[in-house]
Amino acid sequence: MTTAHQNGTRVWQLILAWGFVGIPLAWGVAQTIANAIKLFQ
């Protein structure tokens, strides 16, 4: 894997980018699971 160089990608940039897409997705999945569990009870 390509590693971050001094002038390359920083770790915080990676976290920011993945958080930008990961948080909304996790929220949506959590909503769906919560509904699914509630409905099966």
């Binding site: 590693t3 990608t9 769906t32 409905l39």
Partner: protein, 484 residues
Amino acid sequence: MDSTVQTDSVGAFGFLARSRTIAKPGFNRWMVPPAALCVHLCIGQAYAFSVFNLPMTKLVGIGQSAPDDWNLPALGWIFSIAIFVLGFSAAIFGRWVEEGGPRRAMFTAALCWAGGFLISAIGVYVHNIWVVYVGYGLVGGCGLGIGYISPVSTLIKWFPDRPGMATGMAIMGFGGGAFIASPLSVWLMSKFSTSTHIGVAETFLAMGAIYLVFMMVGAFLVRVPAPGWKPEGYTEPVQASKLITKSDVYVYDSPRTPQFWLIWAVLCINVTAGIGVLGQASAMSQEMFPGRVSAVAAAGFVGLMSLFNMAGRFFWASTSDYIGRKNTYLIFMVLGFVMYCAVPYTGSIGSVPLFVLCFLVIISMYGGGFATVPAYLKDMFGTRYVGAIHGLLITAWSMAGIFGPVLVNYIREYNIAHGVPKAQAYNVTMYIMAGLLFVGFFCNLLIKAVNSRFHMQPQDEGGALSTAAAAGAERAAQLTGKTA
């Protein structure tokens, strides 16, 4: 390898040019999947469009439908047009996407997708459904098609060691987009609605704005690898697999190969089998287990299926990197055949858990089929035009979108009309789906390496090939005279 045909934009839109997206040394390739997800999570909203259907039947009457309100069949066309345009825009614009680079494609997709919402908002405001058809269906559908294929070849180039996993991540986003869009739409409509007004138009405007920002972030994050770039420590296998080519096939040469149509058939069959039950899962579970599966439990079952649809995209595409694309589809066909044959049995013994298990496996393979196919195309046709070839192949999805629901709905109605109990009305359909997968098994089995006469020659590289004739009269004669 990446000596791409330069069709770079100039002037104010120069930042969209492929040459401006070439990654500098030190760029981490793990920045690219989030860029792809920015696009796919947005366009995946299409799967959640049905949340607008009921509110849009009460735009005039508010509390209940008025005679001037739109009806559900008319509203159903919005999604159908969008999916139809998705397939054909991906096919038509595939080469343009491939040659212009991912940023220009993502930027265009963002404008189309957000523009589609804006036009649809106007359509809802003036209460003219044709404006919504043009907005969401036509303009938005172009955004769907261009956006869907925009990151495919870029991801494959960044992850030559794990192409299945890379494209699986992006296409998983398309499956996951509905998870965000569905609750977001409901929440926005609740905020914009009053006792005298349903806030669909405002919700469309808000979602268009949100998606525009989100997709633009993806367009600016995305980078293509520098020519000759390889991951650190990665060496291409010396002894290449027979089913993984190192050569490239020109986009408009690919439909001349039997491999293209065999993969087309495999994808079409896999999607037909999945899409038919996906749309009917709620009704099917309640009718096969009357009194045991309530409408509420069925809705939870549909939610679980959507989760497995999304997870299957990542799981199966990643698995294909280890076991091979052909073997992955063999599993889809064989396991799918067993599962479809088992569904009537689960109904006869009254086992809800087994029924649920069968469908969760089936739907994971439905998603897996979508996610694994870009890597399959890369193995067959090389990386150069894989995104554009993927665009052509997506027409299989459009066809399956017609076949699947028709098979399930019409056979069920035919059975019920001929006195078959509702609990058994789906059995014939399940066996037909199993039969289709049996055919798909042989289509997949027939897939061999593409004949080398279809491979692009060194002189083709960098030149704007308009047709196969550019490769030379001799080769053109071969193409028209023989098949692989």
